[in-house]
Symmetry: D4
């Protein structure tokens, strides 16, 4: 601890970074940022922009970059994005944005990108599933796993799916994103020998169109998937990332 305090005294360490190092979190005007998440969980903490003001998102993103070298913002709308971009652009940090997925990634110059020897494949039933798939992809890429996205292979035309099966099978873990009746994850899980994580999407209308039919179908799947909540691309990405890390560690520790 003395070392940390001396670094603060010497101006070599910011107060936030020091607090994070000592207590595990950094206090900001907009909440406590869980700076130890990556250490404890192996994945970076995401900043959910939805329901926060642009200023709150900015405060948390700054704390994230300061204490962990980067920030991952999800479900950001245009005002969040503009605020984050104008905050970091003049600095030595890189801001990359995926408009359709609503994600923003900020990386400081000093940040060392991780890399995992594991592959994740994200598949979708239709075009409108992309935002959820893209959110999942942002997390997978943040941990450094190899990430492939194959879109628009819903079961209405099952040939589209079978054409891609070899590529899907090559992954260590599959994230299958689908709305309406969400038959895609079930059919795919019957054809591959790795874990499949199903993500229901709320793109329908009528009874069950808010993603509940898809969720129910995935929970009842006869091909044994695990599931995350409706539209929860972030959660699926985290779970896939954790599996990718387990795979990578196995390879490492037994080299």
């Amino acid at each position: 601890m003395r070392e940390t305090l001396e670094a603060v005294a010497d101006g070599e360490l910011s107060v936030a970074a020091a607090e994070a190092r000592l207590s595990g979190y950094a206090t900001t005007p907009s909440g406590r940022f869980d700076a130890a998440r990556e250490h404890r969980r192996g994945i970076p903490e995401g900043i959910l922009a939805e329901g926060k003001t642009p200023e709150e998102v900015r405060d948390l993103a700054e704390a994230a970059v300061e204490t962990t070298g980067r920030a991952l913002v999800t479900r950001a709308d245009e005002t969040h994005r503009e605020t984050v971009e104008s905050t970091f652009t003049p600095t030595a940090a890189t801001v990359s944005v995926d408009d359709r997925a609503g994600t923003i990634t900020v990386t400081s110059e000093a940040f060392e990108e991780p890399s995992l020897a594991a592959a994740v494949c994200i598949i979708t039933g239709g075009t409108s599933d992309y935002p959820v798939a893209g959110e999942a992809g942002a997390v997978v890429e943040a941990v450094g796993a190899d990430c492939t996205v194959i879109q628009d292979i819903g079961v209405a035309n099952i040939d589209r799916l079978f054409d891609q099966l070899a590529e899907i099978r090559a992954a260590d873990v599959v994230i299958a994103v689908a709305g309406r009746e969400a038959a895609l994850p079930t059919v795919v899980a019957g054809q591959v020998d790795g874990p499949v994580i199903g993500v229901p999407v709320s793109t329908g209308y009528g009874h069950g169109g808010d993603g509940e039919a898809a969720l129910g179908g995935l929970l009842q799947s006869c091909t044994a998937l695990s599931v995350v909540n409706v539209d929860a691309g972030f959660t699926a990405g985290v779970q896939a990332a954790l599996i990718a890390r387990a795979v990578d560690e196995a390879a490492e520790s037994r080299k």
Copy 2:
């Protein structure tokens, strides 16, 4: 009307048959039997045994045989079955029973079996879907359509399904019976060019296991099915029978 009344007076026509001919229904101690259903709808009225006493089922079955030449009883348990069998066995009527499906068919000697130039294929995802499929089959056979049942071709092993696809495609209408996530009807409807009727089944457990997940999935199906209620094999059979009749009539009227 006079003719009918004279036939009653002469003992050539029972009171029930005469009432049915004149008013469209026969009054029994256990309710009014809709004797004109077949005339009006083209399908026989079914007698739902569930929730009725054996005596009530017997009364209605007798009225059915007397006024229309036959009776179709569904969701019958053992006590219903015994009562019906002991009622009709010593008579000139034939009683056939499907224990697993819970159906009883009584046919008087004089009854002329109908025959339709149309084919219905009933498919199921697993063995436990049979009771519902059998109930549907009983109706399809009652109208005289050609009826094929293909069981246990759920999508967990999609090869089982593709092996049977040619036979399924040969039908004029398909009834697809499935529980759990009910992906089978969706996948099949993407592969055939006739109408598919999906029947959700209540064989699961947990969230949506009472058939609600299957129902939601069928209503949201990306391959455009029509649907009947959970476990409603009878309704699916009626709808398929009515389509079979429309097909048959088209062939007839344009011969």
Copy 3:
């Protein structure tokens, strides 16, 4: 395959049309268009505009016209409509729009309109059910079946319904569109001898007013209907179209 490739090389066949001919679908920047749907299912693939940008709808409509000669867009709002109209108007294609139903049909000059020897009757309970009925009608007309729409015959004044019964009975298949308690499809199905497809509509308020009361009522109907999801005019139209095709084929094959 060689023939197809030579046609592409000679500029006689577009890349999209060639891809569709070879693989069954055409890849666009906005997703894979299922060009083989009509071949496989006997009905054209619809393009659901809701949840897509005008540009995505335009891309898919262009692929549809290029590979199948026409496009059917549903649930289109004003911006979708304007984009589609401005895309196709200067070309040799015809664009027809139904504002109340939200449908757009684009037909290339070369497209040969199909014609089926089968009749579909679409009935509604009230004026506000029209958008759903119109969507169903667009599909029925796309396959070339004879299509009649009878509006505003809900059971509150049952005379309005009985006045139209003869015309309803003349159809091979009936689509009955109704909101609130949706008693209309049940009453009609008790009076006709062809298949009836019930479509619940979300025009109410209070408990069940989002179409759930209507859906529940149709699933429980004592007169044995098949059902599609709330507001799912497209699905009802497809199912009726498939029945119409089965009827037409029966007439053809037995001529």
Copy 4:
């Protein structure tokens, strides 16, 4: 009060009857019996047997007879019935039982049957609706209104209903009892000019089969009914009885 206490002292009034007269309720080992219900509400308090032991039902029935001259027990099973019958049979009270409806009525010799100049008609869709209709009828008869029950006129065969319409129209208030989609109350309410009370029944299976589809349909009815809970024959009977009393009072007070 003195008078009441003197009557108790003289043994002319039981303790329970005196307590009821003074406080409005009689305390029994099984709860407080609301002896003033009939005075306050114009209808007798019912004793719901379901969920009570036979002894509790007996205690309350004794208090009811002692303080108000009669008892009305609903949802009684065989053990309740036997206990009540054996309690009152040797006394000067009359016990009448409706097994199908689960009601028991006990009337002391001294009780003066009320009579109202008003007519209630109870109709049902099918035979299995009788228990609920019978429960409603027991209350209607208890207040002395004229009570007609017309069974088994569901809309699947609408002729059965129209045959009875004149008799239904003759009533001051109609109770319409129906399960499944419960279209009957809606159709009837469109044809009569008096108040209709809809009672949903839980005789179905599948989605909405527990009476929820019927309840939803009645709440959404396009013909403006009022509704009671699923299987709540007692409540419907009370509401009809109160309307019958209002009608009777109007006739009385303006004679």
Copy 5:
């Protein structure tokens, strides 16, 4: 019929009025107006503005005035109101509007206001229940019953309620409008001896705040109410009006 046609020929009767007289309904560009509703049901047909364009509402209101002498529009917003006012204002009809309740009543000069010898009391739990109460009141007044509205007597301060009890008891029928837990109708029904109709209101938030908690509470009420759907002031008004008519008729017919 000849008489009617001659009146049309002579220009003494409009085409719409003649159609209504002969068939029971008047056909407008915006649907069939049920002109016989009042004759058949004893209450005027209401025109639900919600979900209709101002032009549709105007068409139906014109047909209503032409064929029945008046129009009752419910759930009208500002655009509906302006269109109706500008349509009828220059004519010999009177337009009266209740902004908070969203009702518009149009009465032709020739229309003879009905009058019933019966009293309806409408009570509410809080100020925000007024729109629903006002809608009910418009129907009650349309049939000519005596109508009293007592607001803001929810049970949180039960003294407010008891202060008004005498006035409530004086009515032949009570409409009790309440949101949140809707205890008011239950408490009142325990204190009066006439029929009480409970109307749940959707003014809450959180679990059950959309009126479902109130609806559930009314259906389960231990004091035997009848119920209408959430926010369904119109339906409650119709039911109360029908009871008022029955009361009035009893007085009349027995004079």
Copy 6:
């Protein structure tokens, strides 16, 4: 710790009691008993018998008595009761049972009954609410608070309630137990100035009869209650006990 171990070595302390003292819980063949609950939470841990075998309940009860001097078992059926009674009867412990409430209390001879200077009043709407009220009462008595139970004061006859109001107001905290529409807690909370805890009960039938209507009504109550789950008498008792302790502590610490 040494002291504890020496006591075990000397046979003065059982292994279980020693484990509990050191780790806060006692390991049994049927699970870990949370022996520190009372120390940490101020209330004894309850043993929920429902879903456990009689042997499991016995194991846990023995651990409870051994480590804390007593055991409180809830939702016990006859087999649980017999096993517990036969286990403890020959020992120096007292077993008291409430059959209707399903509770069993075992107290070792050495146990010193606590006593709190605070009063809890438990009220119920009807007789069938007693099991839930009794369960709550067992917890309240276990902490030594003064506990009064007033039954059968539902709002259908509001005089029954007002007769008891003075006694209810005298308590520091009120537990109001009610089924059906659960208006009682709302009405009472409007009349008293202490905290009221509402407990919904599942004694109804039809829509909301499983306690959901009561729960919804309590959560929406216009008189600001706090709520526990359906039938959760134990939880209500704990919450009241904790309030009673806070009240008692305030009195103590400020003496």
Copy 7:
């Protein structure tokens, strides 16, 4: 009463204040204000702005200040706030506003702030829970209890929680506000020995994201909480305030 009337006559007492003193409530153009709430319940009546016009809120706030010396407005938006501020600002009353929580407190100069010898601690899982926590805090402060708010201590990083445990334990009652899965109140309640009131928050998305998952989790909590409705900060504040008063009274009465 005479005294009150004389004060009115002399102009010393406003009409509203006199009415409130005599009848317990003050009648305003926007409803009856429950002026006796504080006397009867020990807490001030809140004015729920949501669903009311600014004018209605102003009327009620004026009545509140006039009759009780202050007003507490909740769920106020900007228009409510502006109207209230402009109404009271030029007067001798103090207006304090919490924008994030949506609360407005108006205090007349003459009002004597209460003070209770009891402490309430309000904790939240994340920043977005503040509005609900702030609403609860406004009520707690209004009764004069000591109020501490500790934010952003959700269980994802449980160290954040344990760092604050000592402060939480020091309170007499804890309000735990949490969205998503709401594990925080359960974990905290296992660690403190006072009553904990859980408040579910509607800040999630997907299945259960409207606060239903949090509500369900709190009702099922294995650590025996009491619960208020989703987002019902006001109700939680009232319940905590009532407990604080009970604690304070205990200290007082036993001094």
Copy 8:
């Protein structure tokens, strides 16, 4: 293929085994056994006994043993168990049974047990969660992963959990089984750096007690879990097994 047929002809291969080898499944009187599941998915197919007759379970188990060397039966009751035991006991197969978990494992003598270099830890909140945990464990053991079960560490006493944390962290994947509010998986997932699969259990009562509260809480978890259906121990076991295999393969392929 010739080889297979010759082996059948020579009696070296059973018909079932040959069919399985050629088509991927074995046809039995009780359905098609998916013999290629293990090859295709890397996990054995389970035989769900629930809803099947003992004879059907026996048929499928025989096919499983014959074609894959073993059978894994889940949700077996006593009759299933007796039938399976009596079928295999006299043979060279080993039958092991877990009564509490309802699982039966049959292993032929020739079967070579697999072994994976990966560890799975299964934790439960309470004793009554064991059946679900045991079912998951049976699958994990069937694939040969290292399997640890730690029971009864629910968060009510969080020390019990922290005492076991080191052992939990040592696993490659964690299955967390919990009922009621299911806070355990959320708290654990915040403390470990591998994937956690949450399994909701249906051991509660009241609102959400059927596992829905637990499911909702897991889907909303702030610590990013994946989830399986209520009580779906089998599915959780399969998902963990697939992750274990991925981990093992990584170690293998990179050796």
